[in-house]
Symmetry: C2
Subunit: 316 residues, 2 copies
């Protein structure tokens, strides 16, 4: 079974919940209706599935939360403490060993080990594989925004250990490893369990793109400072501080930051204080330059150009 | 001045508001930053402009509302009573007389007069023009969802009078007059003040499209019942009733109903209990048939096919 139905039923029963919300990340959403049907039949509760996009534990559907007795948020680990929200993690059974073995030639001796929540149950196995190859795996605790030692988010690399030669990231995609490479200035090896491949992460291309976006924003007079309205992305104090540095600037609150929503505003450039990923992943689609707060500080001379870093949302 | 700045400043001062939200419909949004700047300079309050889409008074940005002392919602008349929301209507100065004169040959003697809030201040002038042409204008009160006599919304035609020969709609677009034509089975004449043109409203094409959508949904086994999450569109009881009629059905909550959000769900057809306009205006773009609750009832034999009507959201 992919979802822990007995646990869901138990929580519904214990809380005597009559109306229940389900929220899935995009990759699990198609399974929503079948799970809703099964839980409705077995519990008698009414299930409402969120149809709005969901990209992380930061991205709680507050509208749905407001009309249900309990909201089950699938696929991500706990980020905020709200007893109405139950975070239901989702683990992949995919084998990690081959990818880790393929990473070995690229790693130093002292290896910081990181992964995302769907492979977090394989952390011991990853460490064992490294030890068997005469490496010293180091797994560190992150801040309050993450749950597990070794766990990273696209916006939080607090669990990357200090004092290592290199960092191993077990997972998919380029965003996490690139962020760690910039955050720690250490070699990062990305090992993808799904393909079995491992590679040394290169940040050159991404850096060039970011400097190009910053160059375009150089002469901006009017700024739009975006406040993300998703609960775990709402950095109001940061947005106010950036607005103060920007001069002619307007605060703009947005839930889903899309090109057409930015198009509605006649400003020369934007700074996004929402999910750090948005400015970077969607850069090519936006009608005007969208900077991270760190890039904006560099542009305004408040930060040295060699101190380029990834924007992170820190916990406590 | 297009916006009533003194009134805005007065409300901010009276309420001692420190943080203020602005929400604009799409057509006014580009003016947001300049108005925000002026109000910030004159009041000392911090202004946050909503960057999320806004299509009516039903469409309150609840996220923004939650972090400001007062939310100014521009361009629409009051729909809900919430002292934190100030509805700032927006009137067009465009002349209406020429369009009404052009409508005369198409109208009967007893004419129900309707318009939208941006021309509502011209209602007396419209009535006078009709009287001068020997017509009897009838202006009726609507239910609690509208504010002014003669005012219609895309989802509410309660201010269309009974006992008239024909209906005059002064305004733009096809949606309101088509809705009235279906709601009242009377000739509707649409007079557009911006072009000066008047025309008898034809519902044939739209009806054909709707029956085609219903035909496609005929064999649907799995249904997605959409609950709109915008405050004035949330019809939970209706959604539950439709779900009960649908058999194999899942409730899906959505804020912005877009083709890609529906694409995430593997169901055969949808029923939208949100804004009635969505099923109809965006029909061609959706990945599966999207019916209004009324169309769904027809399909399920709960309503006669000759009783086709527009879905309305009624007030008290």
């Amino acid at each position: 079974m992919m979802f822990d139905v007995p646990k869901i039923l138990d929580i519904i029963k214990t809380r005597n919940a009559k109306t229940v919300g389900f929220q899935f990340p995009e990759g699990l959403k198609r399974q929503g209706p079948a799970l809703a049907k099964e839980v409705e039949e077995k519990s008698g509760a009414l299930v409402i599935v969120s149809g709005d996009p969901c990209y992380g534990a930061c991205d709680i559907d507050e509208g749905l939360l407001g009309i249900v007795d309990v909201l089950f948020h699938f696929g991500h680990s706990r980020m905020m403490d709200d007893e109405r929200i139950v975070f239901m993690e989702y683990y992949h059974d995919v084998d990690v060993e081959r990818a880790v073995i393929n990473a070995l030639p690229l790693l130093g001796r002292k290896v910081g080990v990181t992964t995302t929540v769907q492979h977090i149950h394989k952390l011991d196995e990853i460490a064992r594989t490294l030890k068997n190859a005469d490496r010293e795996p180091i797994i560190a605790n992150g801040d309050s925004r993450v749950v597990y030692p070794g766990q990273v988010l696209g916006c939080n690399f607090s669990a990357v250990p200090e004092g290592v030669d290199s960092i191993l990231f077990v997972g998919t995609g380029n965003f996490h490893p690139v962020g760690m490479r910039l955050a720690r200035k250490l070699p990062v090896v990305a090992a993808d369990p799904f393909t079995g491949e491992a590679r040394l992460v290169d940040v050159e291309k991404m850096m060039r793109q970011r400097y190009a976006v910053m160059a375009k924003a150089m002469d901006a007079k009017k700024w739009g400072i975006i406040v993300g309205m998703k609960p775990g992305q709402r950095r109001m104090e940061l947005a106010k501080r950036i607005k103060g540095l920007a001069g002619d600037a307007v605060l703009i609150s947005i839930r889903e930051i899309t090109p057409d929503r930015l198009q509605s505003f006649k400003v020369d450039a934007f700074v996004s204080t929402a999910c750090p990923r948005i400015a970077i992943d969607d850069a090519g689609m936006f009608p005007a330059p969208v900077l991270t707060p760190i890039e904006f500080e560099m542009l305004k001379g408040k930060r040295k150009w060699e101190d380029m870093a990834f924007d992170e949302i820190k916990g406590d």
